[in-house]
């Protein structure tokens, strides 16, 4: 029987990390994710873990790099500006094929922005964010339960693919409380023969991302690319709630998908046939699933708390002829179910020939 508790999203995430065997946390305070370091500073010593409040996010990500290279499950967390400072280290980790978890409890940008919920870091998270040809594995929870479950999942995927993983969450999910089952899978820590632990009983080895010899770097990039292709084939997670003869398909991720879920219920209660698709992994993005679903429906409405970043990915994935509109709230405003419902009704009324258009709040 699993333990059922009511926890804040940030705390659930931290407990997920502990359940995944993470014993090292490095981080620098920034709102709205401080619940994570504050909680772990008390929790990690109870499990013989290490908590370091680093001097900056730059130091945090590099401490993570070191701990990962030493073979440990380790993590950092931050928000917008701090995640930007970590991009160099993330690029190095991807280039050196080091696993590790970075949590982004997003705030609004650009710049210092604001501390309300936003999904404005979607593009940074899914494209890699730093320099060079790489991706992070990016999971976007939409409940406190998933803050726990997907954190565990992220550590496993990071180790499996030797690639940094990110939890892309936001202030809503970080702050809110929901009941969840603390039901961790059995802890299996993989062997890491590549880790640097001192060259006892084997040859000295090296972790690096610098390749200067002719053709080496291209070969390395193709190797990384193949890893990302494999992620796209094998690790896509998507939640769907579809109907027969759908008039509109709603697409949303993260906290925003909760509001969309309510709007879908409202629309159905009014007799509108609406489908719902939520990318759980935003990288790898569920291109194939979206292509197949959009074959059955002519219209898609993307709802995001940014100016249409995932909208790009959706449009790249749609079956030819299917069109996607956008409902965007980029400033900390939350797209309310009623507002989403109004857009669904507009879209249904618009007939078959809708243009791709941006519906702004």
């Amino acid at each position: 029987m699993s333990e059922r508790k009511i926890l804040r999203g940030c705390v659930a995430l931290a407990e997920g990390a502990i359940a995944a065997g993470c014993r090292f946390y490095f981080g620098y305070p920034i709102t709205p994710q401080n619940d994570i370091p504050e909680y772990l500073s008390a929790r990690l010593p109870q499990v013989e873990g290490v908590f370091i409040q680093a001097e900056s996010e730059i130091a945090s990500i590099n401490m993570l790099l070191g701990a990962a290279a030493a073979g440990a499950r380790a993590m950092t967390s931050s928000s917008g500006p701090g995640i930007s400072l970590m991009q160099e280290g993330l690029s190095y980790m991807a280039g050196s094929e080091l696993p590790g978890l970075v949590v982004n409890i997003t705030r609004i940008g650009p710049g210092l922005g604001g501390i309300a919920a936003s999904q404005g870091d979607y593009r940074q998270a899914t494209r890699g964010g730093g320099h060079g040809d790489y991706h992070l594995i990016v999971l976007a929870p939409n409940s406190v339960q998933e803050m726990y479950d997907l954190t565990i999942k992220a550590f496993y995927l990071a180790d499996k693919y030797r690639n940094p993983a990110m939890i892309l969450s936001d202030a809503i999910l970080g702050q809110m409380k929901e009941p969840l089952s603390l039901d961790p899978p059995p802890l299996v820590l993989p062997e890491k023969p590549w880790a640097l632990t001192g060259a006892r009983g084997r040859k000295a080895q090296l972790i690096k991302s610098l390749y200067l010899a002719d053709g080496e770097m291209e070969q390395h990039n193709w190797h990384l690319h193949e890893k990302y292709r494999r992620l796209e084939r094998e690790e896509v997670l998507v939640e769907t709630d579809l109907e027969e003869k759908m008039e509109v398909l709603l697409v949303a991720f993260g906290s925003c998908s909760r509001m969309v879920h309510s709007a879908v219920e409202l629309a159905r209660s009014r007799g509108i046939r609406v489908g719902f698709l939520r990318p759980v992994t935003v990288y790898p993005f569920p291109r194939q699933a979206l292509r197949e679903v959009s074959r059955e429906v002519g219209k898609v409405l993307v709802v995001e708390m940014n100016t249409g970043q995932m909208w790009d990915d959706v449009r790249l994935s749609l079956y030819p002829g299917c069109r996607a509109g956008l409902l965007a709230r980029p400033g900390g405003g939350i797209p309310a179910p009623g507002q989403i419902l109004a857009e669904i009704e507009n879209l249904v009324k618009a007939g078959d020939g809708i243009d791709e258009s941006v519906y702004q709040a």
Partner: protein
């Protein structure tokens, strides 16, 4: 069933805590529940509020535009949220801090009680006003049982805080009885 409520007041009055207790009680009664605080630059004494959604179904949005209930412990809280309450919804107001004349809604059920004074009279402490109001809210909305509330209180008041538990229960019960006895100042 579906019920959403906003608990609002000044920081330090314990509005987040009573929301939390309600959410805990809902979980113990096997409901789906979300608790969502407003947050911002933390200033003690500044506005504080939280939204609790309780449902027998999986919950979508943890925020609400048109709550079924509002529990207001301060003037700004009432002014900010009273217009949002659903027609026929429930308004519980702490008249120790809010003049009843400030309530402009006529299409809702109103419970006005001087919770701080009641708290002091019944428990010797002003700080249980939140529990008095919560008792009133629960017994009227019936989103959870009073028994469930008392069980939930046990989760929050243990170890060194345990001595507060009987006082909280007393305050909760008084709020509930206030409603049952029709002691609503508004009639």
């Amino acid at each position: 069933m579906y019920y959403d409520v906003i608990f609002s007041g000044f920081g330090g009055q314990g509005v987040l805590l009573i929301g939390d207790i309600l959410a805990q009680a809902a979980m113990l009664e096997n409901r789906h529940v979300t608790w969502m605080p407003s947050y911002g630059v933390e200033i003690r004494g500044g506005a504080a509020s939280c939204t609790v959604v309780i449902s027998s179904q999986k919950i979508g949005s943890p925020i609400t535009e048109e709550p079924c209930g509002l529990l207001a412990m301060s003037k700004p809280a009432l002014l900010k949220f009273q217009h949002k309450v659903k027609k026929g919804g429930l308004l519980v107001v702490n008249t120790s801090f809010v003049e009843p004349e400030m309530i402009t809604r006529e299409d809702v059920i109103k419970i006005c009680l001087p919770a701080s004074e009641i708290s002091y009279r019944e428990t010797g402490d002003y700080k249980m006003a939140n529990a008095v109001l919560l008792g009133a809210f629960v017994s009227l909305s019936r989103v959870v049982t009073l028994q469930g509330m008392e069980e939930a209180l046990g989760v929050f008041f243990k170890e060194e805080k345990q001595k507060l538990l009987p006082l909280m229960i007393k305050a909760l019960q008084y709020g509930s009885e206030f409603v049952c006895a029709g002691m609503n100042g508004d009639g």
